[in-house]
């Protein structure tokens, strides 16, 4: 048993750090550090191009598709270092979500057409999963795809579509058979966002941002060649995708970065003549979350080690998701509590604290999306505890 990284892994970490120091543009880093999303599309795509030029565009892909072929441990180190350095997070919808599905279940033609463009930041992908009546119960989705010759005709609505306002493509789960079990009649389609009949309507969120959209499909025609895998087998691919979304699901790197920020903030705020970092009540809360983060970091490494020595991500990912999101949310709560009335401002005119309170509001999403934490507990009960 050895909890520390090996000499090779440490050397790799140093290489990543050096690369980040040399190659992450400082304006980009600063925008990320202060939570400035005003240039987010370009920041994400420009950073992707820099990574691609380095050969690091797809940390989780095998070499044959232009990926790095890195081990899970290296991917973990890379993502943590990127988060710690305030690099923009790579857009998961392409690299981590649709790409693994195309690699595993797509045709050679689909692989050649889509994967290089994802890698080179030529296409922006978004996800069409949830519907107004289908959130946690995703398999009940109703958006229709009716066959008409070599095409499907799509009608319906997707919601909670993240950053689709920038998207070139959307991968959708659609209903191709409504007669049997809900899971059996779903297909996985790749849809060009420029197709006639698609309209994107922003959903304003509680923090004032436009991060998610409703997407309406009105007689949108999609070639059958854009279906991944078999008709009515989409649910299988969607479950496969969920397994791949999770390598960094605990968000250890972002939590470490925000915890550091919290401690820096605490050191500069005083109560009863001592900094909040020495304040028994407040520092105790910091200590508590730091301890839990330390434990989760080890738990995360245990899961990676288990995966490396045998299988695909298992239901343990649910544990990482729940605890990881709880920790991120608590750190952001602490940042708000630390500022106190200083976090009352909102929006452009709200001053420095406005970002902190907006982040707190925004991060409530963490325990809701990607399978709510309650759904994750169901998964643990069923898949691990076998109840």
């Amino acid at each position: 048993m050895d909890l520390d990284f090996s000499v090779e892994e440490l050397a790799f970490r140093d290489e990543v750090r050096q690369f980040l120091a040399d190659s992450l543009p400082s304006e980009m880093r600063e925008r990320m550090a202060r939570g400035d999303d005003s240039n987010i599309r370009d920041d994400i795509q420009d950073w992707q191009k820099i990574l691609h030029a380095k050969g690091w565009g797809a940390p989780g892909w095998p070499v044959e598709f232009g990926g790095t072929g890195w081990s899970k441990t290296r991917q973990y180190i890379f993502e943590n270092e990127c988060a710690l350095a305030d690099a923009p997070a790579q857009l998961a919808f392409g690299i981590k979500m649709v790409a693994p599905v195309i690699m595993r279940f797509g045709s050679t033609e689909q692989q050649q057409r889509f994967l290089p463009r994802i890698l080179a930041a030529q296409d922006w992908w978004c996800q069409g999963y949830s519907e107004t009546g289908s959130g946690s119960d995703l398999a009940s989705l109703k958006m229709k795809a009716e066959r008409d010759g070599d095409e499907y005709v799509l009608n319906g609505q997707k919601v909670w579509n993240t950053l689709g306002q920038f998207a070139d493509w959307i991968f959708c789960l659609v209903r191709t058979d409504a007669t049997g079990k809900p899971q059996k009649g779903i297909s996985f389609l790749l849809v060009d966002m420029k197709s006639p009949g698609i309209s994107v309507r922003p959903t304003r969120l509680l923090d004032g941002t436009y991060e998610v959209n409703e997407i309406w499909f009105d007689n949108v025609r999609v070639s059958v060649a854009n279906r991944v895998g078999e008709e009515n087998q989409g649910w299988t691919y969607a479950k496969f995708l969920l397994g791949h979304e999770r390598t960094n699901i605990a968000g250890i790197g972002s939590s470490k970065r925000e915890l550091l920020r919290l401690k820096q903030m605490a050191a500069g705020v005083a109560r009863n003549g001592a900094s909040l970092l020495q304040d028994p009540v407040f520092a105790n809360r910091i200590a508590q979350v730091e301890i839990e983060l330390r434990a989760l970091e080890i738990t995360n490494m245990r899961v990676i080690f288990a995966e490396a020595s045998q299988q695909a991500p298992g239901p343990e990912a649910s544990l990482l998701k729940i605890r990881g999101t709880e920790i991120m949310q608590r750190i952001s709560e602490l940042q708000v509590d630390l500022l106190g009335p200083g976090a009352l401002g909102f929006g452009e005119s709200g001053g420095e604290g406005a970002h902190t309170s907006a982040t707190y509001l925004n991060l409530r999403k963490l325990s809701i999306y990607g399978g709510s934490n309650e759904i994750q507990r169901n998964i643990i009960a069923q898949m691990i505890l076998r109840l």
Binding site: S6, N284, I286, A287, E292, T299, R302, S309, N378, L387
Partner: protein, 370 residues
């Protein structure tokens, strides 16, 4: 990064588990618990025969020298079986103290007996004053020319009634702390036997001008040396607690599958499923922290060691409380009885939370180094 164990380490775990599975089931444990001594000398000899009492005796001194990881694995199994024998007290804590702090003469004198199980030794350190401040030792050691004279009162010393040798911490006239080997039958030493909340035997130890020789002082390491022993003990106790947490959760899951109410196993109800999912997360986080405690319990850097152990003990204390309380809750009335193992695990976990620094004590230690 490597979470695997060597073959030798695996073997220690399996050997201990197999022995407990074959020889130490819940009914047998109840017999031991009800016996006059409260532990079984027969089991003790068998543990010795299996070599398990030698895990903390260095190879150079004729033992196995299994180190923190081997000790952790054996302690996992000891916790699973809720052993009443003085494994942690003698084979881990006292043995480690003598092996790391003792002179070569002291090691030669005591370690063979500890490894063979013929000698049982315990650390007599806790006092009323050390409850939340482990170094506030009031027991004193006066030099008398030929050796030392010890006076004071040690509280709730686990397995003291079974021990022939006590390792007594005491404050010297110059303010330094010493650790002294004291024969249990020394004139002036008396025991007030008691049972602990986790069903182990203990005693308050009264030292009324107990004279020991000049060779009785264990090393010269003072508070630092004692702290090293306490840290090693804490990691081992964490491992024991993990074993108990693992079993009490397993028992709860099993019970929820078989207990039928409203025409369905209660484990099929979501409110209970989510509680058990939460218990599992506490358990896995506790396992990670037990690893952390083990990895750093002999760290030469005292600050890293303290931070790691306090983080581990605090988190595991909270996990133990959550898992223990909810295990009783989910067993309903049956969880309140003496009949099922659940209540016994629950008490073992309570003792874990309170020993070697409470959860709050360790949170406080951790907070101070933020």
């Amino acid at each position: 990064m490597d979470f695997s164990f060597t073959e030798e380490q695996q073997m220690l775990l399996e050997t201990t588990r197999r022995f407990i599975g074959e020889r130490y089931d819940f009914d047998y444990r109840n017999q031991v618990r009800a016996s006059a001594a409260g532990w079984s000398s027969e089991v003790w000899s068998q543990l010795a025969e299996l070599g398990l009492l030698a895990v903390n005796v260095p190879e150079a001194d004729g033992g196995i020298g299994a180190g923190p990881v081997g000790t952790m694995l054996v302690c996992n199994a000891v916790g699973e079986g809720m052993l009443l024998e003085p494994f942690l007290s003698s084979a881990v804590i006292a043995t480690q103290a003598i092996a790391t702090l003792g002179s070569s003469e002291q090691r030669e004198r005591w370690l063979p007996g500890l490894a063979s199980g013929e000698l049982i030794a315990v650390l007599a350190h806790d006092e009323d004053a050390t409850r939340h401040a482990p170094m506030q030792v009031q027991t004193v050691a006066e030099a008398n020319g030929e050796g030392w004279v010890l006076s004071g009162r040690k509280t709730l010393v686990y397995h003291a009634p079974a021990a022939q040798l006590l390792l007594v911490s005491a404050r010297l006239a110059d303010g330094t702390l010493g650790l002294f080997t004291v024969a249990a039958d020394s004139p002036g030493l008396s025991l007030q036997a008691c049972t602990t909340v986790d069903e182990q035997r203990a005693a308050h130890v009264l030292l009324d001008r107990v004279a020991v020789g000049a060779d009785a002082r264990l090393g010269q390491a003072g508070e630092q040396g004692l702290q090293q022993v306490l840290d090693y003990a804490t990691a081992a106790l964490c491992a024991e607690a993990f074993g108990a947490m693992d079993r009490i959760l397993a028992a709860t899951i099993e019970y929820s599958r078989s207990r039928v109410q409203f025409g369905a196993p209660i484990g099929s109800f979501q409110a209970l499923q989510h509680r058990m999912a939460e218990m599992l997360m506490h358990l896995e986080q506790a396992r990670s922290m037990s690893y952390l405690a083990t990895a750093h319990c002999t760290d030469p850097d005292a600050d890293t060691r303290a931070a790691s152990l306090s983080a581990a003990k605090a988190l595991m204390g909270q996990a133990a409380r959550y898992i223990g309380q909810n295990a009783v809750q989910l067993h309903g009335g049956m969880g309140m009885t003496d009949e099922l193992n659940v209540s016994h695990y629950f008490k073992r976990l309570l003792a874990f939370e309170l020993r070697f620094g409470t959860t709050d004590d360790h949170l406080e230690v951790y907070r101070r180094q933020l």
